[in-house]
Each structure stands twice: as C-alpha cells, then as structure tokens.
Amino acid sequence: MKLPLIAKAFALELGFYLLLKLGMPLITSPLPSSVIFMYMTLVTISILLYVSIFEDDFGNFYIPIVDFIRGDDNESGLRKLSRIAVFILIPLFFGFRSYQSVLPNFNPPFPQRVIHPAPPGSAAGFTNPFGDDEANHEQYIEEGREVFYKNCVFCHGDKLDGKGFFAHALNVKPANFADATTISMLMESFVFWRIKTGGIGLPEESTPWDSAMPRWELILSEEERWKVIMFLYDYTGWKPRTWELEGDE
C-alpha cells in the first residue's frame, strides 16, 4: 500500500514522540520534557528538509494540507467534521499552552552545587606522614578502619557506599567512596582537606550550609585522619590521584 507522503511524515513524527516519551523510560530513566522537545524539533526540521528537497515531493506534501484547510463545497461529512475538529483543537491547544505559561510556577532557589570545588591554597601541601612507612602499613589501615567505623560509618555506610544509617535524612548525600567519581579521582591532600575542614569549610559554590560533613579537626587527631584515608583507599581498592599520574595523561 502506498501511503501519501504527508501521512508518512505524520506517522513518523508521532512514532518518534511515543518512542521518546514511552519507549525510552523502558531502557533508561524518563527523559526531561526539554530534551524531548529538542528531539522533536530535530525530527520536524529533518522531515521538512526531506519533503522540501524536490519540488514534486513538496507538492505532494503540501497540497493535501492546503486542500484540507480550504475545504470543498461538496466534501464528505467525515472530512468536514475532522476539519472543524482541527480548527477548534488548534486554538484550544495554544490557549492551554498560554495558560500553562502564565500560571505562576514556584521553584525554590536551587544552587548548582559543585561537588569537588577547587580547594583553597591552604588545602595544598598536606602529605601523609605514614605514606612511606611500609613496615607498619597494615597497622595504620587497621587503625583507620577503627576510626571509620566509630565515626564515618553512620553516613558513609558499612559498604563505604554513602548509604549509611543516617544518609536517608540528608539532602546532600554522603559521598560514595566505592564509586569511581570520588576518592579515586582526588588527591590525598584534597581528601585530607575535606575531612579536616568538613562541609562548613567548603567554598560557597559548594553550599557549605547544607553539608553535614563534620569539621573533623575538632574531633579527630591529624594522625587519625590520615589513617582513615589509608583505610578508605585500601577497602575500596582505589588509588589516590598523584602528580605523576597527571603527567602521564
């Protein structure tokens, strides 16, 4: 069966919309409406491009539209009915959209939060005093483990996945050390600074007022803080980022 070009174009447009709206959530999480709109614009533009490349095709495409709008004195009842329906639906659609746009929409002030901010100058130059002591390495990790399970486990969790006992109550979720985007891409001195000064020590772009990360310099000794860092890397198997590695990249 040979469908008219306009029917094909319409079917394609609708098919893409349904695919994005209903099909994508089956594979990944639902797409935001702005992304769907962007895709549909691309689809529409490409359809219009396609139909307008050759004059003949374009005629096939737009003459039925013009005929439909114009109507005919001796047209069938169904055709007349659908024409009236379209003429009523289009203004209603625009009316509804304008209603949506003028309806007040309240969104709380929402900062774009920087997760790993540029550390202040004071954060540089921390070096692990136990880093070179190979003989007692295991002992330090063991002590770090104790520090973690007495202090950090409540938020960062038994599995170091940021899903501790208290994590569900927080807005800024505790860091997931098992994830490849946290301690594995940070330098030890940065991690040390974050632990030392805590959430409240963050710069403003990282919304310090929302972070429950304690300022551990008030609670833990410097040695305890280094040992817990050694434990974090040991448990997860990640390696801290270093200057040498940066040079390789």
Partner: protein
Amino acid sequence: MIIRAGNQGLGNLKVMSKLFIKNDIQSLFLLVFLFTILGGQPYLFADEEHEEVKTTAQPDSETLPNDDLAAGEMIYKKRCISCHGDEGDGDGPAADRFQPKPRSFKKAEFKYRTTPRNSLPTDDDLFRVISNGLPGTGMPDWADVLTKKQRRQVIKYIKTFSDKWEKQADRASALKIGEPVPTSEESIERGKKKFTALGCTLCHGAEGRGDGPTSLVLRNHRGDSVYPRNLNKNWLFRGGGEAKDIYTRINTGINGTPMPSFADKLNNEESWDVANYVRSLSPTPNPERGSLIKPLSIEEGIPTDPEDPLWDQAPSSWFPMMGQISFEERLFTPTVTDITVKSLYNDKEIGFKLIWDDRSSSKASKPSAKKKIYTDQVAIQFPEKLQPGGVKKPYFIMGDEKLGVNLWNWQSDGNQVFETTANGILNGEVKKSESNVKGSGRFKNGQYQVVMKRSLQTSDKEKDIQFEIGSFYPIAFFAMDGTNGEVASKRSITPWYFVLMEPETPKSVYILPPVVIIFVFGVEFVLVKLLKKNKKASSSS
C-alpha cells in the same frame, strides 16, 4: 518556490540513502535517525539521576580462595569484623555507637528467624538478613556487594564461632505459614481485640507506638535496655513490615528480648488477624520525604490547640531525622526517627503543627538523680534573615559565625514555648527575652503534637525572620527525647527544607488564554478565506 541547486547536497544524500533503501518511508526514517543521533547525543548522557554505581575497584571474587570456609573468613574479616568483632562476639569498634548492638555469633542468639523461639535460625534466615539487611539498624543489605555464593560462604564461617550449631537440640525447621487471611475491616477488628487480650499493649502501647507501661524498663539478655517496636512505622520493622513478616514474628518471638512467641496461643486465623491489625497501624504507602511545606491559607485565626479540627485540613509533610553527629557531644542513637509537619496561615499569622513519636513524656530529673533525664523538646529553625537570591543560608545545624538562626522551641516540662537565636552549635543558644511565638503541646499514646505560631512580621527585624507571601523560607527541625539523654547538641536533626505561602493566582491567568484562543481562531479564519479566494481566482482565470 524551491531552489533546487541549494539543496543539491541533501538531494544527493537522499538519493544515496535510496540506493540502500528503496522505500520512501524507510529512507525518511534513516535520515531523521541520523539527524537526531548526531544532534541529540550529548543530552542522552546528561541525566545525573542515573548514576552507575561501581561498588569497589576490586571485586572480592578475584582474590578469594576456593575453599568455602577460607573464603567466608576473608569476607568476614573485610566486611563484618568492624561491628561483629574479630572473635564474633559483637564487640567490633562500631558496636558501642549502635543501638541495637551487633549480634554476637558466639552466643548465637539470632533475633529474626522463621524457627521457634530459642532455636537457631535456618541458613535461609541468615541469608535473608545478610542480603536484605535489618532496616533501622546498622546492618546493611549486602546483596549488591556479595554474590549469593559469598553470602553462603560467610554464613558457613560465622557458624564456627559457636558450638551450638553442632547440637541437634537447638536446630529446628522453619515455621509453616498457614492459609493467609486477607486483610479486611473484620480481620483487623478481630486482630485488635486479640492484641489487647494477649497483653501486647503492655509493651507496644494502646495505639502500638511502643509506649506501653513496661516500655522503658525492658532489658535484653545482655542486660541492655531495649525498646518495644513502634508498630506505626513498619518500614523500620527489622524482619520486614508486611503481614506475612509480622505473622512470622508473632509465632517465633525475638530471641534474647522480652518478645515472646505466641505460637501456642494463636491459631493460623488469629495469627493473621493480629498481623493484619499490626500492619494496618502503619500507613500504606509508607510516607515519602517532603521537600516544600505549603501552608494552607485560612480565614480563621490559627488555633494553638493541636487537636483543633482546622489542623486536619492542612497537608502533611514528612521528614526523616538523624542524630546530630557533626559536633561534640554527638548523638549516635536517636529515638526520634522522623517528624510530620502541618502548616496554616492567614493574613496576620503563620502556624506549624509538629507531630512525632516518643515513648514517654519526660520531665527533667533533679540534679542529684543517678540517671539523667531531660525535658523533651522540639524546635523549628529559620535563618535570622533571608539572604539576597535566597540560595545562601546559615549552616543547617544551628547556624554559623556569620549567619545566625532563629529557633522556635517548645519543651514538655511546663508546656513552654520560647525563642532562641544561635550562631553555631558550639557557641550555644541564646534565649530571647521577648518572644512573639505562641503555642502548646499534647502528649498522648506515645505521640507528641505541638503547635507554634507567630505573626508574619515582628518588630525585631534583626533576629526574627520576616514572612512574606510568595517567598521561600529555609526551615529545619530538631527534636530531643529527654529520656534518651538528649539535651543541647545531642538532638535529632533535619537538613534545610523550604516553606512557601503561595500567593493567590493572578487575574492574568484567566484573561490571556481566551485572548490567545480568539486570536488563533481569527488567524485560521483569515487563512481559510485567503485560500478560498486564491482557488476561485485560479479556477476562474
């Protein structure tokens, strides 16, 4: 008019695609597909919600020995030792700061089983606890980190801590669950009667909030204080919150605690009735964390009585709470797990009703008392001032040196309301000499209901938040259970949320859409007229 030359390139593309695909619609699809893939690709990966979690850089499976027991030991030493201890007696470094305490595998007293009271659990019971964790405790769900085989291996290993496992006498098979009785008003009603008749209310309380007359004096086999479960929060039931789980608990009891088994007192139907009743005490679905509190606009004055029916009309927001563990002294074992908030406003005042569960209404003990008890308290926290742009806020735990907070407090001792300000928890709270906040509280069957209200504007523009309709105000909550030793920095906390009094819908909302409809219709009308005229002109010529 179409310019053919300008489209030559695209025309070629079309011809090319037609070489492969004869069908018009298919080549059209291909073109559209290519366009969208090229154009929209970056956006496909922009979804921040969908994060891929890699649990660790080195999976255990790569480093584990083949022998099950040896593998189990290695898993135990990495994953379990910090709570359950080297020797399996439940005294790892974390043990002191968790309530309930980690299990002792040496004593082999397991709480959540499908086997009769005082017997050992089945392997499947242990497997279930390791896989799903125990909600409301420090025991996490290990299913995403340990494979099924690894979970079996670790079970094998934890059995080596006690010789009880070798004695046949302590072994038992799983309870058989009889034909289910679906939940219904009748079943729930029968269950409620049984619940009272069996004396469940002595510990679990008249409305099941774990506040019965014995609730504060119960002890477990170690001599530690234990609380009866609050049956109104089934998401915190360790062994699962559905009727089938409750049925199992009723018929197996909880070893090492005062919770008996009712297996010899209840038949199958009665067990289901009680289970259905207990399940009905918790909301379905379970509450979800709120983010924005929208007070309801009313004409009347804001009632200070928390039981005033006007409060029933206000929508509820639910917020989970955590212990304050950012500053000394820290609270690792809070008893207040969540708080429900309702709010009302009129043109002069705004009021909040706070609802939370507490096993007892406590009065501060005398300074000479052996066990210190403090008054129960609740507080609503606001910034002293709204910052420009509304993004910047004081630190969520009682502010910081630069930005202060204003707290509306209520305490059970004397049913008092007072206002404080703070610039950081370490600097302490300062009681305001003059307070505009009014309110009162009630305690009934293990639940507090407290109302606090204030005029929208006050004379103290420096220390009091000034409310205006249509603005977002940061808001946070604190609660203290005095019986649990909570005072000063030892408190349950929430992060910042927002409260917004929504302004009335502007008139333009009802004017613009009809104008647009008429305009678009007019355009359509003109278009049709023009097209018809064109046709006549072309056909007559």
